[in-house]
Symmetry: none
Subunit: 211 residues, 4 copies
DNA sequence: AATGAATGAGAATTCATTCAT
DNA sequence: TATGAATGAATTCTCATTCAT
């Protein structure tokens, strides 16, 4: 990409980033149409290719940007009790909602990366995704897993939570408009049920910030 | 479509169906390329359009076929304890694996229908999908939900199970080759943990066929 | 072409000839569709190519056939006063209607040859058309042109008659069904007016058979 | 169509219009090949579809253009004695030759519209053709038909003239190059003979501008 | 002789990318 | 910097022709 992109007015940069992210998130790499992105961003096609050599270059940039921004906000704004699994999980979703204010499609876009199956896109993007996964893993590092009942396998539990939340996110994004409150309610209810099912009675951390 | 398709040798029919299903499942309706399907099936492009008028016609046919076949096998081969949630769920996955023997991409294809976002594809296919959802709902009708702990909300629980299993399925299909044993192991472990977390102690149906 | 065509039952031969002629007449050489011809004739595509090597071969055969048949009927059934221009002209149209009974599209097909602009078709067919033109010219050989007023140039007059009759023919064929009576009425009225305009007063052959 | 077409250099617009008109005129709507038009116009296929959404869109545009241009020139440059049938007819042909200087295929194209038999093309184009027919009819409104001999039926006469002139036009366009002088000579000779045959002796308007 | 399944070159159309202005 | 006209390879679909049965 052309570094001069960053000399553009922030507002224009963001229009371009949001346009690209939206179209990529909704269609995947291959099916995403340059014309549509350009229309979303309100700029010309020529300019697009002036800053980003080609579609894969733009994709790479946007992946990088989304992940760096998300990771940054995780570091800046995630302030849940780091020892509590559910508070942490809920807090991460809160951060996603925060990010949505500036970049409405970052959460869906990050989620869509898992389904990407264009080999070209995958090979261009693998290392960035690792950055995000590591950051998330890091957020869970101080989680106290002693609260869980003995029959709870951590890996399976984590997988259950992450697949389900991914499903909820995608369902909510499929609506005409994304209803943030409704989304957070669904997440909260889900997490509460998961806590009730997994935490040893009497120890179920009552201060867990999931509400 | 041209009804003479059914006069073809079964093996050729299946090559065509599998080719179409694979490419549709992996790419979605729009991005799926006729050329690729044709190559997968080892036939000529012309023949494709001899039997199916156009891409959407083929898609409709394949959706119909996948769902009818899956529903048929559910009726013929699902013989788990119908009152046990986990046995039923596991049994359905066993049926999917059975279907895979003849049509390797039916499970992924059915799962992919949820993500389809081409309006053309959706409007052509809506009613068929309902048939499948109804059949699945029907399988759960006799499930005894009294075994669940009072803090277990049925809708949230079902959603958790279905999103997670969808996730596992897609992850396994993303591997070079689909390892059936590994897939069923993951499903079993997951369901066992869900049972352990949700069923009232002492009633946890010890005969539940999830192994 | 394959001479064995003539061993087929006459009725089948004619179905094939009529089917081809109709589709060629209505669409021209290039646009004429093999499928349509085959459907019109009620036979299989394979058989078509069994008797006629390819489209141009069939076209050549049909042109040849139409012209030979038309010329034969001109010789057999044209019995107007050969010295009278209008009687002869009208008589030729009567022969066309006669031919229509067996081969409904011969008249239109012959007329369409003038508009053919596919180079391939033209080069394959030139000599046959000459046969027809010569036969028509021959029919006019004994016409007495002394009856025409001095300001009537024969070439221009002939051209006027032939272009106008071609136009009428095509207009009538454009109707849902070809109305023979109506067609012959239009021809008669036209020829009568032409006679009134061109023949020297007082000599206007009152027995001229144009009705 | 894309209105920006009109921002192109006039010369390029005309190359595109002429290319399309030529290929449509010679082949009819269906058989007309985009590749051929593109080659005629010396531009790329992509550009074609950048300005005109699809083949029928281009066809509609070209019909509209040809008719508006022809009607405009009829209003601007037809200055024959409006009461004289032959002068008016000849004048219209002069206007066609004038139009040919800018758009060589307009006359043939307009003539070809009568033979169009693609339903798609016909339904897209019906109203435009009416505009042209009305304009022509309008040109004949002041014609004095009292000069004609009593045996001359106006409808049959008009039909004779129009079919014959259509025939001459198409014959001349069938030559390698269109010889304007030769064409106008044929038209003049034809009209003179028609006048001699139809106008009452002694009144034959001697100033009629057909020479 | 007869069928129609099968083929592949060619048609219209889309879309990432380039380039003159 | 910014535009959008221009390109051509790829895509969906058609059709004359071939070939196994």
């Amino acid at each position: 990409m052309n570094e001069k992109f960053f000399d553009l007015k922030k507002e224009k940069q963001d229009r371009m980033i949001n346009g690209a992210m939206k179209v990529f998130a909704l269609n995947g790499f291959q099916r995403a149409s340059t014309d549509e992105m350009v229309k979303e961003a309100g700029i010309s096609k020529g300019l697009w290719f002036h800053y980003f050599d080609n579609k894969i270059g733009l994709y790479t940039f946007v992946v990088d940007y989304a992940i760096k921004y998300m990771n940054m906000e995780l570091s800046a704004s995630l302030n849940a009790d780091p020892s509590d699994f559910f508070a942490t999980t809920y807090g991460i979703e809160e951060v996603k909602m925060l990010v949505r204010r500036s970049y409405p499609y970052v959460p869906l876009f990050l989620s869509s990366l898992n389904q990407e199956n264009s080999p070209e896109a995958l090979s261009a993007v693998g290392e960035y995704i690792t950055l995000y996964r590591d950051r998330i893993r890091n957020a869970y590092e101080q989680v106290n897993r002693a609260i869980f009942a003995p029959y709870v396998n951590g890996d399976i539990f984590d997988m259950t939570v992450s697949f389900t939340m991914k499903g909820i996110l995608e369902e909510e994004y499929a609506h005409e408009v994304f209803d943030e409150e409704r989304y957070m309610n669904r997440i909260r209810e889900f997490l509460e049920q998961m806590r009730a099912m997994s935490v040893i009675t009497g120890e179920s951390n009552p201060e867990g910030r999931t509400e």
